[in-house]
Subunit: 218 residues, 2 copies
Amino acid sequence: MAQASVRDGRRERGDASRRAILAHAIDAASVDGLEGLTIGRLADAAGHSKSGVATLFGSKEQLQLATVAAAREVFIERVVEPARARSGRGLARLCALIPSWLDYSRERVFRGGCFFAATSAEFDARPGPVRDAIMAASSEWEDYLTISIERAVEQGELPGLDDARQLTFEIVSFLEAANTRSLLHGSDQPYDRAAIAARARLTGLGADPELVAQIGRG
Amino acid sequence: MAQASVRDGRRERGDASRRAILAHAIDAASVDGLEGLTIGRLADAAGHSKSGVATLFGSKEQLQLATVAAAREVFIERVVEPARARSGRGLARLCALIPSWLDYSRERVFRGGCFFAATSAEFDARPGPVRDAIMAASSEWEDYLTISIERAVEQGELPGLDDARQLTFEIVSFLEAANTRSLLHGSDQPYDRAAIAARARLTGLGADPELVAQIGRG
């Protein structure tokens, strides 16, 4: 029993350290990319020894994969959960997810904007487990949007739409372009452009203007 | 005279080496980013000595800036010039520029797809001269699209449009999302999605369907 609780205590401390280091890692990777992550730099930033960080994560690739997994959790918590909590399924969900994503980027939940936009562009031409993990998280987000769009179609809320995946492509295009342009120009205006574009597209497909108005500013 | 032609000969060889090294640099940066460029790696790839490359470019930042300038020239040559050669001003130009950009990305003029999409995402959160140079080249491209759109509006070719910059934002959103997704998933389908999105948007603004059809496949 005593031995077990010593072990549990060590594991808890290890988990807390791991979480603190991963929070640094996500933030750093959003600015400098996942290739810029090194066990040495992270140890400095988080106030741990290099060997301590190495023990917690193993190889650089394992650290990169753990960072992607942690960023995915933050994304779900900051973008998906709040939208899910305040909206019904279908068009209402879609019209809650779009401003939720724009807020996540605008508020710089990660210093370098959307983690997945940054690391997708970094790894898109580099096959391997890290690219696969980024791709899986991005696909999961796009699938979630698509399910809401399909539901909206079933509920008769988008009478002009015949291809849910096409609309998903267009919406994520607007979101990611807003993220990159806002960072590049140090301006909030691209988020307004993305909101205007999404509203115009949904209105053009026959969506209820009251729900579409929730997409907000711009 | 003899001295001058020795100097000219040296300068010509220097220019040819510079161009060959920059061609490697653009290609490498499109995959691994501009931060991944090192004088040592480029020297290996181009079959030059490290000191020779250092003499031609100076610092790493100077090399990065020269790479951005060279990529800008290739972009103009591959995307802008062919569209300008085969189209009149206004909507016809816009409907030639869009497939020209999609071809440039699809044909992997650079191994990692669009150089500016890759390096914008890499540098968007890192202020400095390299970010400024990437931003200037990207703005130049967006300004060129906007001029064509404004001309189309003046010519009465986009009766539904009241904000040229908004349409520019939407079009570049589709192009860049197609580039990233094609690389990430190893698929051509995102280019079709971008073409469908651009055609639908322009048709919705009242553009001539025959011109819009030039945007091509998908």
